[in-house]
Amino acid sequence: MAEELETERNDVREDGRRPPRAVVGSTRVEEEMFGKVFDGKVVRRIWNFVSPYKSKVYLAVGAVLVFTGTQLVIPLIIRYAIDNGMTPGNVDHSALMWAGIAFAIAILINFAASFVQENTVGQVAENVLFDIRRSMFGHLQKVSLSFMDKTEVGRLMSRLQGDVNSMQEFLETSVLSIGDIVLLFGIVFVMLWLDFRLGLLTLSVLPILFIVRIFWLPRARKAFMRAHETNSLTNGALAEGIHGVRAVQSMDRQQVNFQLFDDKAHQNLKTHLIASRYAQVMVPIVDTLTGMAMAVVVVVGGSMVLNNSLDVGVMVAFLFYIQRFFDPIRSLTMQYSVMQRAMASGQRLTEVLDVDLDITDKPDAKVLSPQMDGSVEFQNVTFGYNPGQPVLKDVNFKVNPGETVALVGPTGSGKSSAMALVHRFYDVQEGRVLVGGHDVRDLTQESLGHQVAMVLQEPFLFTGTVFENIRYQKRDATLDDVIEAAKAVGAHDFIMDLAEGYDTELGERGGNLSLGQRQLISFARALVADAKILVLDEATANIDSYTEMLIQKALIRLLEGRTGLVIAHRLATIRGADRIIVLQNGQLIETGNHDQLMAQGGLYSKLYNLNYASFDDIPDDALEAAAQGNYAT
């Protein structure tokens, strides 16, 4: 063994070879960035969000058209002023004055249109962004937990943020690109109208740009995506280095990691330089084409002016248009990528918005009254997360008002599922779950939630003060109520030791408290909720014995005067219960109080006799032996 684990630890070999196994960060980027250019389903879906602002959108489109119109008109006014006002031999002061007035009107309209357009587009896009996000968030509040169970929070967050943002970008640019298209066609039209031959000649450079861009675009986009990818990979490696710094240092990997990070960062540098080359190569091409167009106007248009077949003002107007007409092409090709990105995002958004709502209130759902008796009953309940694989099979039991029942059984016996059913996190496949004598499916989920308080194994606290956390459900609870509850569960003392007592802001997920302390606060939270029924999943590991003692005391206080359904791990808790229900493989196999069950000599007594402080500590083999013994009897 000693020899086997012995090795030289030489991180980077003299020849510069990197260790074959060493990596930093991950090597692939997860999501598709671009989708189809156009996806009817997605567009319809987005339109649903835009349509409440329909009139604003029409206003914006109108303003864009007016705005584009004024941009087209200004060179024409200049042309008019030159040709009708100041051509030698044809001087006309009034023409110049009219031109001045027209110019003033044009720019006033331009001012107004530009204001209306940008303001409306900006506001609508922001509104739609927030609406989509709200609708997704609201939907996620209602979708069944089975969806939430298998979906990572991070993934949903990137839907709610990144994808929603790319929709916003799409909306903003798509109205503007209507302007671009109109401007492009407008310029073409005006140039041809002013002088068909010269217009045609000048415009002949346009197709060249189109062709160049068609060849350029796929390559350039690949380069941009590579750059984007290496960037997120490098940042991922950095983030890993930050989160895992303690592990890195304790295994002394800094040197190797630095080299590997260098490789990544250098790769990122390279791809960015390549992307930059692709982006910049278009500059001289566009400039050359602009130069060509200007040269055409100067030579051809100039000779025409010389021959008196063209007014000099038209030539000036042409020169103005030329400087503008590459802009719309550039922004339109950019819009193409924006659209593809938006379609990919839209696709993902639609997936979330389309998740079915399995569990909804019936139209005639009743409100569970606080005066109900507080009983819980399972009648022939069969339930599985995947139909065909039941985790609870034909389970029957009743918890009487005020009684505390401990659910006991090995891992996978169905305890947690039973608890989730009381709260209707899932719907049963067969049988019924009754709370206060009503089928939970006939009650409103909200009123059910108010009468059934839950304490989960992992205490989850929210950012905010201790006070706000404790009165999470009862928003109108006073500080006195909260303090009373905290005192009852023994949390008051440590809360007062915090920097600002009940006003102390908790860190992310209560990070500045120990697990045991968070547990106690979650007890206080359940106590303030003051529900008739308490469902509790006892924490298993990770709590030190001192806090454990506090928790045991708190538990007794918490269950006073309530119907309690406790998934119990600790023997102390189990023995304190009025009745014990033993589950195994989804079936209820024993029920009774401690003494009865011990006398019965079944699974419970066998497990108990193994003499572990917690059933979870029981080794698998011993558990198996006990379980088999049970079948034998």
Partner: protein, 628 residues
Amino acid sequence: MSSDAISSAAKRNNSFAHVEAAGWGRGLSTLLRITRMCLRHSFQVSVAIGATIVAAVLQLTIPVLLGTAVDQTQVVLEGGNAGAAAESALWLTAMSLLFVSIFRGVFTLLQNYFGESVGHHIGYELRLACYEKIQRQSFSFHDSIHSGDLITTGMLDIEGVRMYFSTALIRVVLLAILIGVGAYLLISTDVVLGLLALSFVPFVAWRSSVTQLRLRATWLELQNRLSVLTRVMEENLGGIRVVRAFAAQAYEMTKFDVASKRALTLAYERVGIRVRNTSAMTFSFFAAMGLVLWVGGNKVIAEEISVGTLASFLTFMTILQMPVRQLGMMVNSFARASTCGSRLFSLLDLDIQVKDAPDAQKLEVTEGTLRFDNVDFAYPNAPERPALKHISFEGRKGETIGIVGPPGSGKSTIAHLIPRFYDTTGGSITIDGQDISKATLASLRQAVAVVQQDSFLFTTTIENNIAYGDPWAKEHRIERASEFAQLHNYVLGLPSQYGTVVGERGVSLSGGQRQRLSIARTLMLRPAVMVFDDSTAAIDAATEQRIRSAMKRFAKDRVTIIVAHRLSSLMHADQILFVEDGEIVERGTHEELLAKGGRYKALYDLQIRPGDDMLEDTTEQANKEAED
């Protein structure tokens, strides 16, 4: 790797040194420091600046040439000598226009490319410097700083500094030439018209700078508000079971709406700021253009200037428009680079507290004896509150030392001092008589390995994770370590076995599995001192028992330190230290401590025999039955 690649790697590492060398000018402003960093890339900087100047000058000749062309067409009407001469003059102007455009394009390419390249290079250097600093920075630093802030600095702040050269410095040169030379050209042609043509510049420059700075301020505020919204959403989704359990969806929706509305209001405001500004800028530009047309038109009529001159004034204005409007962005770039830079540099300049002493020696492990001699310690953020007081003990090769105590008693702190995650404030820790503060960190951390409480997994295969500290390891050693940690069978059940990717983006492991993996990777290190820092809490007692018996042979060759709150994890230790309030209050073997009847005994009773004593009879009876 070819020799070429090695030399390029060597060069790259040198370029990282630039960051160090460029620094330390504490009194000088951050911007100067960034500028100096840029200037290290002297070739690229000079090409970029040279190209900017040439491109700007070429751009200014375009209106002049256009004006000439227009005038050339007018010659005939005035002088009357139409024909070949006029035509060839037009050809000459056209060709000049074409070539000027081509060269302008080429030089703009050079300007942009090399400008960005300088940025990418310093971005690369800063990234490395940042990574290196963060990796080497001591635990106390990481305790005190939020990891999210570090990530922001490493990503966004570097971005802000990177953009400085191309969006701030180069733009200054460009604008100076366009406005300076342009104004000279215009005013020398016609003073009144020139001043009119330039009249929009101060207004637009002022508006755009003010607006950009306001947008920046509101942007920062918007980010704050959005991060509140993010937190609301993240917590809601993460704690969805709690939300459902308390039927708090409506309340959560209100929370969301409040946060969302706050962000939306500001977003609206920002749209307003932006829009008012763009429209006003465009208007002032066009108004100036109208004036030039009006006044210029009259001058043409009065034959003071030619139509061509008027046309060139107007085109000149269109050329100047964009860069002037972007002046605000330039101002913004300066502001951004300076705040980002100062944050970044304060990270890079920060001293590392735990580092090799100047005369550090390589640690030579001979006997493998670990000794704490009167060790005192206080965390840097609470120096007045000692975390450990007069800790002394000794562990020899083959011995196991258990450390137990109430939460916050300092038991984990003891574990963290051995590999020098923190430095002691008094007393000394020695390994084979060598003070660990005099040993090189690398050699010390090869001799001491800690299985930490929180087992961070890297996003890579299980194999790579186990071999993390020894990436050259042979496969069979990895499997061996995994067997010892009782992980092997589980891994074999996975679809890709040792090739299964775990960590943030891979298969998620349970707490116990993570801890087992963490034990396996620490076993790979073959340390002289192996420390388990409460690292089996999530592993069930039976598996832990198996790990312990597998480890027995392994433990023979080293000192093993076990910090735990579950007594069954450390009852078998050769020596158990009971720590309370930073002091060792009881020490001895399990039996000795039980016999003593002190705190250890109390804890033992609490854990092994919970609840009341009334049921003792039943338990005895049950034990008898079990024996039968």
